[in-house]
Structure formats: C-alpha cells, structure tokens
Amino acid sequence: MVKKRELFLFISLFFLGLFFLYLYDYIKQAQDDIFTSIESNKMKNISYLFKNIEENLVTKNRVKDSDTLVKLLSDTKSRQAYEEHLSLLLTPSIKYIYLLSKDKKGRYRFLLDASKTDKANFYQKFDVKEKEYQELYRTKSPQVIRQNNIENLFLTYLYPVKVDGEVIAILSVDITTKIKNVVLELIKPIETFFVVLIIFIFLLMIMSIMQIFHYFITRKKIFTDLLTQLYNRNYLHEITPMLKLERYSVAMLDLDRFKVINDTYGHKTGDFILSQSAKIFKDSIRDSDILIRYGGEEFLLFIYDRGDGDSALRVCERIRENIGAHLYSYDNHDIRMQVSIGVHEHPSLEKNITQAIKIADKMLYIAKSKGRNRVVVYDEKSKSTKYIEEKDIDFVKEALQEERVTCHYQPIYDHNSKKILKYEALVRIIDNNEKIISPAYFLPGLKHTNIHYKLTQRILSIVFEKFKENSSHVSININFSDLINIDIENTIVKELQNNKNLASRVTFEILESDEIENIELFKEKIELIHSLGSKVSIDDFGSGYSNFRTIIDIEANFLKIDGSLIKNIDKNEKDFKVVKSIVLFAKEANLKTIAEFVHSKEVYDKLQQLDLDYMQGYYIAQPLEVLEVEKNLFQDAFSQ
C-alpha cells in the first residue's frame, strides 16, 4: 500500500519526463531539419553556380577529357583566371573551392584552388578517402559529405564536371560550420532549458523513488513488532479504514499462563516463547490472513473467508492444536504452552472494527474462564452477550465524566442478633433516562481496561465519603487487578491511613478470580489492607477455584458463600451439604460466614439450620441508595 500521493507524484513525473524527452527529441529533429534545409538551399545555389562554371570551363574550351582539362589548366594564366572567378563564390561560410581531377593511378589532384588560405599547388596530390568521391564517378551526380571532425568544416559538396556524360573532374566546395553554429547558438538556450528540465525531472523522479523506498522501509519498521516480526497495532490502525470486515473473521489469541513463564523462567524465555508462538501462528494460517501482535501475549487474527470450508473455527483449532503440540526448548527448559482463542465469525455485523475486536476479546475471556486452552466462538444470537455489549466502555466513560456513577447499599444481616452488621456497596450507573443500570450490564466489558480502574476509584471515593459521616460498616467489592493497581492502592492508603476509624469499618470483598496467579503478590496486598486496620472478605466463595490454603494464609475475616450455592438451597440437598461443609471449614479457619442471594423465606429458614453468621439478599433487604435500618428489614422482601 504505497502512499497514493508519492505514487501519483512519481507517475506524473514519469510522464512529464517522457513528454519533455519527446519535446527535446522534437527540437533535435527540428534542428536537423533546419540544417537539411540550409544544406539543400546552399547546395541548390552552389549547383547553379557550378553548372555555369562547368559550362564555361568545358564548353568554351572544348574540353574533351580530363587530360585536355589538365593541359588547359596547366597554363598559369588561364588557371589564375578561373581561380579568380571561383574565388568570387567564397564567403565566410564557404571556406574552400577547388577543382580536383583523378589521375591514372586513381589519385585526386588539384587543378584549381580558389581558396584564400591553405592553397594547394597545381596538380598537387590530395589524399581523400571518403566513398562519396568514388560514388560521384559511379553515379555521375553531386555528392554531399557531412564533416564531423575536420577543422571547422560542416560539409563538403562535390559537383561532377562532365563531358559527354563522363566525369572528368570534381568541383569541390567546403562549407564551414559557421551557419550551423549560428543555428546551434540560437537553439542552444532552448535545448539547455530542456536538458536542465529533464535532469530536474529525473532528479525529482529519483527523489520520489527514494521517498517511496524510504516509506516502505520506515513503514516496515513502524508496522512490525521487533520481537515476533508480526504486524503491530500501528498496522491495525493503518488498515482499519481499508479492511473489508465482511471478508474476515476476527480472533483474539492469548497464550495461557504466559505470566507464569515470565515469572518462572525469566523474560528472555518469555520472549523466546512469544517469537516461537508467533512462528507457529504464522505457519498455521495463510498469506491472506492478517496476524497482529495486539499487546503482550495477545494476538489479533483476521481470518480471510476463503469459501473453501476452512472456517475460522477450524483455523483457530489448528492454531490451538499446533501450539499445544509444540515443545518449547530454551535454556535447558522444555516448556509446553496452550492458547485460548476468542472468535467473532461475522465482525461486519458490528458497527466498527473496535466493537468486533472487543467481542472477540470477550470470547477470549470466556475461553479463559472456562478453563483455558479452548476456542470460544461468539454467538450473535445470544441475547445476554448482546445486552452486555450494549453497555460498553463509552457508556461507563460518559457516566464517569458526567458523574452519573453512584452506589447502592445492601445490608448484611446478623440473624442471630437481629442487627445489621454492615452494608455492601454496589455500584450503579444512572443512564440518560434516569434509569438505574446494574453492573451486570457494564462491568464485564470493562475488564482490564483503564476505565475499570477509574470506576473502582470513583466507587472508593463515593463510599469513603459516605461512611466518613456515619458509624456504619461497609463492604467494598474489589478484584485482584484493582488491588495491584498503584492508583487504586494510593487512594485506599491515602484515605484509610489517616482515618483509622473509617478503616476499621471497611471490609474489602476480594472477588474470587482466576487472575490471582501471583499468590505472593496477592498476600502482600491483603497484608496491606490488614495493616490499615480494614477487614478482608472472600467473595463468591465456592464458585470457582478457591484454594483453601490461600484462604487460610491471607487470614481473611469473612467468607461470602457464592449465591449459586444459596439460591436453591431449600430444594437442593447437595447445595445444602456443600454450604454446610463450607460453614464448618470457616469455623475451623476462624472465618465469619455470609450467605448471599437470600431471596426467599424458604432459603432464609433453611439457612437458619446452619451455623451461618450473616445473611444478605432481597428477602432481607434490597440495595438502596440510603442505608436501610433494622426496622425496615423483611418488609418488601422479594416483592419485585
């Protein structure tokens, strides 16, 4: 994709150059035409004069052959007379006029020489080798010799002196370059102008070629990722306007547990894995596909629809299998890798490429959360995905800018003491229609984005501000990536370090997440919360991968049992058993237990049979903008 401007310039210059070359050639031809015209004009005049001289010389003197002519002109007087007569023809442009005759040995000899300079003696030999002399004797017609390198002669005109049709001598005239020079002088400025112009155009053409060449070189550098030699994100920006999405599927690829590789084996090994993986990706796709290193261990693939049955899913499965089958050997380590892939097969259905990539990224997230090493294809008909997609980053960004982010608070109830233990802060966005939007519609799309961190910061500010003014306790949801974000950490430390009272009333509910791969870092952050005097709760316990050892190690204060285990506990005996086990474990680990999703009296009653500490749910109280008080609990439970 050469820049059109440079290409246009080059083609224009090329044709302009051709045009001027044509003009130059035309001028040169015109110059030759002028010379030919001068030549023929001159020859015509001279021919006429020579004819007279020939007649005078031959007819009057009754010359029969060359011998009688030699005899006639051997007489000095008559020779002088003829030479004087011929000398009248001399002009600044006619330098020499002489009469030559061929002797018996075929050599040419001067019979007359009317020249003012370099005059030859009578019968002196004249060495001439041009074929035109022989030609004159053969054809018996005048000949013209174009002189190129003889002194300043332009041309020589040979006129045959004939008797009875036989050539007996040659009248020769040497014309100087004077006229030619005059013509050349006249034409020279135009010629020079065109030569300069052609050189200039030629230089411009070279410059534009160099520019195009330079463009390709820099383009390669700008658009290539040095490590993997794949295209980088700059290239994505470059091709975005030209990319016909209807011909492609979009896939987002991410190497599983790559951070572990980096942490365990070092960055050099990580780089090696990346470059090798890029090679495997390239070998698994075709030239018509576009592979981009999207960032870190993430790759973006545009799979061209070839219409040959090799679907995007098959291409992605091939990539996944090839990565899984490859043994990465580096620095005496043999490493196996896996890749998770999210695919959007019909990106053209989205409003733009960014949207399509975002969906492929969500599918990748799903692939990761489902256990990695798999390909997840986006189902356009799935309403839930669509719904989430509707409230995207821009929606949250605008809400943050327009301060439409707020928090609702749901009581966490101590059913033993009939008191509210604390409130869980739950984020809400008030949309442009004053409708309150729940986080389920916008949070999934924010994962790992800067907006997510900004949103968390805003929630912290709102909550801290509200609870500074009262004595109630509050729980704030936070995930691991938030916790390791330096800005968020600074906000927490800044607010709580100097307000021990507030700090002691804050509980951070850490979402159980598969991102907690760096356990040491996780522990470090939990210790920081403890050091500030705040409490830690493990959220959604039982929903995922929870590591009991880690739960004990981090000395969490609360364990919130996941709603999926609670909501059907009154009907599902298995769930009851699981929750019972969790409660027992929590007691042993000295953790307070909270059951969430208590949405009915049946659930509430069933949970009473267990030794749970606290409960939370719509049956008790729904989240409200204000802090609910005990007397209002159980009033509108699950009425909505």
Partner: protein, 141 residues
C-alpha cells in the same frame, strides 16, 4: 596499407585533439621505411621528439648529429651539419626547399596528406613497404 589508412582516418577524426596522433602517423610512416643504418630520430619540434622518446619504438636523440632520420618542421631549425641526413618534413613546401627531404606529412584543407618522393627515396637508398606506395610522387608540384 590498411593500418596506415586506419591511422590516417583516426588522425582525420582526431586532428583537433593534438600532436599525439600526428606523431603516431609519423611513427607509422617511419616504420614503413628502412635505411642502411639504425633509425635514430631527431626533430626540431620538441614536443614531437618528446612523444617519440616516451612512446615510440624508435630510438630518439637530442642531438641532430646522432640522428639518422630527421623530422623537420622548419627549414630554419635544420642544422647545417644535419642537412645530409634522411629528412621527413611536416610541410609540403619544405619538400621543395630541402632537397634531402624524402617525404612529408601535412594538413591540406583539414585533411592529413602524405607525400613520399620516389626519386629522393631511391637516391637515399631508402626502402619503403607497399603500404607507402600509394603516396609516392615523382616530383614536388
């Protein structure tokens, strides 16, 4: 003959380019003659002598006395003691003025011309090759 023609033609083409080509023709002409002594060249034209000295197959001398062949440009510069040597002149007129001159190379109307005087060549016991025969003249005209 063929080579001499080529020389003449090249001299004709390159006449304006200096004395080098003139010397080449002179050298070629002298190489086409043989005398009873070793050919040692002297010239009153120092440039020609210098070119011959540096590039020629012939021996040259700075002293006219030691020379066997003289390349003469001007009658006035011919030392009397050398007037009996084989003289090759660079002007047609000198052929008349210097009786010992056996040949000439000169420019007539922009064209190089060679004249070898047959009677003088014979009287001086100079032998010429066939290549020079087309340039033989009975007399100076």
């Amino acid at each position: 003959m063929k080579y001499l023609l080529i020389y003449l033609l090249s001299a004709l083409l390159l006449h304006a380019s200096g004395e080098n080509h003139q010397v080449k023709i002179i050298e070629k002409i002298i190489s086409e003659i043989s005398i009873d002594k070793k050919i040692v060249i002297w010239s009153d034209n120092k440039k020609i002598l210098s070119i011959l000295e540096n590039n020629s197959m012939f021996e040259t001398t700075q002293r006219c006395n030691s020379a066997t062949v003289i390349v003469l440009e001007s009658k006035d510069t011919l030392p009397r003691k050398c007037s009996s040597k084989h003289i090759f002149v660079l002007n047609y007129k000198l052929l008349s003025e210097i009786p010992r001159s056996f040949g000439a190379l000169f420019w007539k109307k922009g064209r190089p011309n060679i004249v070898i005087l047959e009677p003088r060549v014979e009287s001086q016991n100079i032998k010429i090759t066939k290549d020079l025969e087309p340039y033989l003249e009975e007399r100076v005209w």
